[in-house]
Amino acid sequence: MLTVLFFGQLADILKCRSLSMPSQRITTVHDLLSILQDRDPKWADAFADDKLMMAVNQTLVEAKHPVRAGDEVAFFPPVTGG
């Protein structure tokens, strides 16, 4: 299984902050993104944003980064702290 987290405006748009999903057929963040986009048109739009940031196990990564069972994967808009 994977733990998938959403933050900031993305969580508001999806009306979802976290979900668990099976890790079969998922070898990269990109694979996970495709599955999430297929859920419904609103999700498809939300994940089409090319400014979206992503992290695997709390480290920023690119979409090509590998994903394994047990990983925590997070998606969020550009950060605005400081």
Binding site: G8, Q58, V79
Partner: protein, 139 residues
């Protein structure tokens, strides 16, 4: 000394400054940055602000920022404190303090930490204005 904190409560700038300098006779230069909620952000009249973050990752990113700064610049002590939760106008948001034997390294490290924090630490600001709430967008 690396001090990293993510907290709801306000921070005490003098206590953080003292922590950087006490028992520290090697560093002649101390640079601090404090970020506060200011009157106009992106043209809206702010009443308050809510800061969301990614617990766990936030602390890890700030710690790695401090560790990288110690490698890149001649700095010995670093303190980074970032608040989360609801903040009001003029409230303190973030403190970054560094001490170094050299003035130029102290300025460069403090500015590098703030710039990198702004682009990589997982915080998101939501503004609460008279017109409702809105997420702040990145520059």
């Amino acid at each position: 000394m690396l001090n990293i904190a993510v907290q709801q409560e306000d921070f005490d700038t003098l206590a953080l400054y003292r922590q950087l300098t006490q028992d520290n006779i090697q560093d002649g230069a101390i640079v601090t940055f404090v970020g506060r909620v200011r009157e106009f952000n992106q043209g809206h009249d702010i009443k308050a602000m809510a800061l969301e973050h990614y617990p766990g990752m936030t602390e890890a990113v700030l710690r790695e920022l401090a560790e990288t700064a110690v490698e890149r610049f001649a700095v010995n002590h670093i303190s980074i404190v970032h608040r989360v939760g609801e903040l009001r106008l003029a409230d303190q948001i973030v403190f970054v303090g560094v001490s170094s034997p050299h003035r130029k390294d102290a300025f460069a490290a403090c500015q590098w930490i703030m710039d990198t924090l702004k682009s990589s630490a997982p915080f998101w600001k939501k503004e609460i204005t008279a017109q409702g709430t809105r997420w702040v967008t990145a520059d």
